[in-house]
Homo-oligomer: 359 residues x 4
Amino acid sequence: MINVGVIAASGYAGAETVRLLLNHPQVNLNYITSRRFVGKYFHTIYPNLRKISKLKFEELDIEEAAEKCDVTFLATPHGISQEFVPTLMERGLKIIDQSADFRLNNKHKYKEYYKKEHGAAYLFKEAVYGLPELHRYEIRNANLIAVAGCHASSAIYGLYPLISEGLIDIEKIIIDSKTGSSGSGATSNKSTHHPVRANSIRPYKMTNHRHTAEIEQELALFKNKNEYENNVVRVGFSAHAVNLVRGILSTIHIFYNENREIDNKKLFRIYRKYYENEPFLRLINQNTGVFRLPDPKIVKGTNYCDIGFELDPHMNRIVVLSALDNLIKGTAGNAVQCLNIMNGLDEKTALEFPGFFPL
Amino acid sequence: MINVGVIAASGYAGAETVRLLLNHPQVNLNYITSRRFVGKYFHTIYPNLRKISKLKFEELDIEEAAEKCDVTFLATPHGISQEFVPTLMERGLKIIDQSADFRLNNKHKYKEYYKKEHGAAYLFKEAVYGLPELHRYEIRNANLIAVAGCHASSAIYGLYPLISEGLIDIEKIIIDSKTGSSGSGATSNKSTHHPVRANSIRPYKMTNHRHTAEIEQELALFKNKNEYENNVVRVGFSAHAVNLVRGILSTIHIFYNENREIDNKKLFRIYRKYYENEPFLRLINQNTGVFRLPDPKIVKGTNYCDIGFELDPHMNRIVVLSALDNLIKGTAGNAVQCLNIMNGLDEKTALEFPGFFPL
Amino acid sequence: MINVGVIAASGYAGAETVRLLLNHPQVNLNYITSRRFVGKYFHTIYPNLRKISKLKFEELDIEEAAEKCDVTFLATPHGISQEFVPTLMERGLKIIDQSADFRLNNKHKYKEYYKKEHGAAYLFKEAVYGLPELHRYEIRNANLIAVAGCHASSAIYGLYPLISEGLIDIEKIIIDSKTGSSGSGATSNKSTHHPVRANSIRPYKMTNHRHTAEIEQELALFKNKNEYENNVVRVGFSAHAVNLVRGILSTIHIFYNENREIDNKKLFRIYRKYYENEPFLRLINQNTGVFRLPDPKIVKGTNYCDIGFELDPHMNRIVVLSALDNLIKGTAGNAVQCLNIMNGLDEKTALEFPGFFPL
Amino acid sequence: MINVGVIAASGYAGAETVRLLLNHPQVNLNYITSRRFVGKYFHTIYPNLRKISKLKFEELDIEEAAEKCDVTFLATPHGISQEFVPTLMERGLKIIDQSADFRLNNKHKYKEYYKKEHGAAYLFKEAVYGLPELHRYEIRNANLIAVAGCHASSAIYGLYPLISEGLIDIEKIIIDSKTGSSGSGATSNKSTHHPVRANSIRPYKMTNHRHTAEIEQELALFKNKNEYENNVVRVGFSAHAVNLVRGILSTIHIFYNENREIDNKKLFRIYRKYYENEPFLRLINQNTGVFRLPDPKIVKGTNYCDIGFELDPHMNRIVVLSALDNLIKGTAGNAVQCLNIMNGLDEKTALEFPGFFPL
């Protein structure tokens, strides 16, 4: 059994991690913390766990964490985990950090996007970007995982095969992302007040979204070196708040050079090459019915990311669609998948829930 | 392994049964039928099962069913299963019928509410009402289970302890029920058109709802004979369509005789007496937080029914709240729970999914 | 022109009042106040008014109000208006108070339901309950109107004709009310956080709801004295938060004595007698189509209250349905209708907007 | 008074036209037709009009239309109006066609996008594209107006000033559009079934959307001839169905040449130049609060189109946001605005409703 703790377990990402781990046959979840809810039962805050869990929130204590846990999940807000990850690692704990603190491997980029100096940049070289399908081998031996951002995961899953094959213009990538309200976290504010937030399609972050940095970093890493020698990857990322609680759809508009011979068959072949054996990435290719392309409705509650595309010869465009549950495949699910990989377990353990239809 | 089939598996109740059975370790689901979708993969209609199931819909064939299955679930529309249940039973199959055909044990009541003569009323004496917590012992040896209606389940779970204890006026019970759109089935019509149905609180069946009959039948069966010697149970059942896909909330307004000494402690004691050891019935008793009383939001996707109450001495009223997922605890989940009981398995098998929060 | 002010115009009820008054041809709206938003344009808080209104929030100043206004609407939270209504009235202002402060005419009842001593109970005898259809004549000459509560309006419209005719049991009236999130006001809290509040049917106030008091007071006033000599009116009022922003549906379950000869025709005759000539009360009596009974979806954005019923001889029950927009017919619309009556204007002025379908 | 008829008034666009016209002081609406509902009251299908309108649907009869009407609105499905517009025009009627039949001015383009030969292409030269702000002068004298498509209106309003100024790359315009379910019309089908459609973000038409043709045609017409001599306008238009009934948000991603000196001030100056005096186009420029950019929530129920933008120097991108109500500014509202212009009336007549907040 792997002894596991979740720090800051009262937020949405932390709580989903708890829910998944409670159902994990090789995990002993024995330590969950929350500053606000010390001493309270987890199920009083997450009532879906009533009669299921008797876990209580504790105060964070590094010594206790080190004693009780082999692996610790961090679900702290951005900027916090860099403060105590060094100490936790010194005690020999493996860390799966769901915040953004260790996603970027460049302290200048970090400062550009997060507007402060990083407190533990020397750990960047140890941190592995926690997108299991792209970094499986590094994850296996990692001591510090930085779980990918939810929008970023969705975008990278959509783009990675095309960029690896060197097929597309990498300086003019548009990612138009739509997300539910759970992405803004468990703390209420005036923009999440139900009468305000309901029935919206609110363009909330059209430019300078922080996930831009991690998307560009990862895509640059995997871009086809032969095709793109001198080019930098540039994505125009824009995020909208839609009338849902869970789910992200990224609509990715890509241009290709008209001299390229691109057709549907070729695109399918490429995506299949990369994703066919991936347990949680599904290529959607249905000619009939209502759900011919990815829709977050279908993956809600699951660790699946659905990917599809359409070719638009009218303007040498490919539209790639990528749908996932922001709290699962976008955060907690990928975190648990990383845990499985790190521990040599079946990667699918505790993650096979198929979701509901209709919902 | 139990060999199982699902007839009419393309409707919402049938499909949920398929989803649950696919995850059941002691079940071999090897036969699903649908008239409309013969030859199609299940996952083309229920896209949440993509990459998970390779099942195909077949044409219903009694011989084949008899050969392949030990137990058959029927998810046919009301009025259909009575046509072939007799034949299926003659072939030795055990039946778990999710339609209303064998819920009532009185052919006159059947005709009154369903407006036609029943085609196999001689089987009424064999049929067991499929509400696991109330009929556990009969279910164990039953060959024909009539799974309880979704509204009826919700109402009966709320009322059963109070009526068993003889505490309340049983001639003036008001059940004000609110349900999502999935209850109207998988076939579209003008009232389920999204622009019409969305954002509604539509009072759709204020009187004469068919579930009235089964609620009254069951409550009469369990009423305290000492207290209610000559009384008939009468419920005023009214159903509303609310702005949700899944979930039922029944608000049950009950009157008690003012001479009765009733207080909160006594009511809790009673509910605990009946439900404390029930794995899927939860008594909600939270003094703080947002979810102090049952809300279908919390049980969506699960086999739980949450039950709570408030006492209103102002007019000698008890308000009982009962929340469940109409497609799971209201249909497919209870059906699988019956299967587990019939086969001597742990009743909770394949039914322990805790649901999501938020969703 | 009537010079009008709205105090506390930044809340939802106040803002709807502003919107309606801006479109009123006989009104000069020249004074709106808000503590939080002094100096800000109204349209920065209510962006639907962009390019339409140049009004700015001011600090409340009694002298200025007295100077600028003939009539003042108060949209303050409960418990506040009693502090300055006396002063405003001394300056000769007419008051239309949308809070609960002057709805009850009995200080003991006030204390029972609002848990404090009333600060200006001597004004109760001057206050007129602002439900235009029931108090038209008193409103005409009133100096202080206490606009009816939103749930209360809906309930009273449904019950008033039957009680006036002496037809029903007035000690066992059940009002099961469903409301959108706008009823909880413009200030966010943890229960209105979108991920928490969305997709709920939350039973939020099953007993002791404050509107109980005003409903009972009004119904007692209008009850048929011949039929109910010694009886007190008792309503069991329960309120649910449903998955909507606007709208209330009250489902009212009433019992009648089985010796009464009651049929549909008789009930229609009664409702027509009371409501036929009311411009904003509509009796819904449609045998076909989707919307056969009232649904808040249909009256959203309007000053209409739709009323319908079904007879349930099974248990001598009548189910009355009453639907309105909580912020309009439930508050701001009735307030403006009162203004019209007080000033001898066409009662419908500024209130005839028909709403949208679909929405 | 202008005598007006609405043909095919039972669909959503036709019905909104009826609602608007009923409130138009210079219009006498005396003829509405529907094949399916001949003889029925309009309010039995559109229950928001109960107690407000006594109009009945009639069978379409060209003679009667010609006799009763000066102007006829057509709300027929695409492909139908071309059959009888010629006859109606011969009788001297002015036509405001809300279908797509006369929007394109090129029969090859029509065939390419609508997959059939046009039946009355000789009328193309008479038809005026019914986007009031761009074609005010032609509309004044037109006999045949082809009201712009809803997505197209939204996109063109967003792009027109930038293209007129010659500021942007016109071969790489991405329009990512999000729309509610009312856009799919009043007839139910399996994709609009509430349990299927609710809670979706469904990419329903990623490429080859018919509005592409009209957007490109109009933008080419207004593009700055000095800047774009040889260029063709190419837009990559993609439409998503989101979890709403009404509203469109178009997120338009545009690239500009890095040598251009573009900043926020310049962009504001340009939009103001074109839209400052437009009564129904609002430039959204708010630095605080929740609604800093256009959101369809704010314009629902109104004839406003809200427009905003953000500059993204990171990749020489401008993101333009354009929000409108698809049934009003996207169809019926613009149609009525055209009627006003054609008849020399104040353009705003019957169109000034400000919408609701919250809703």
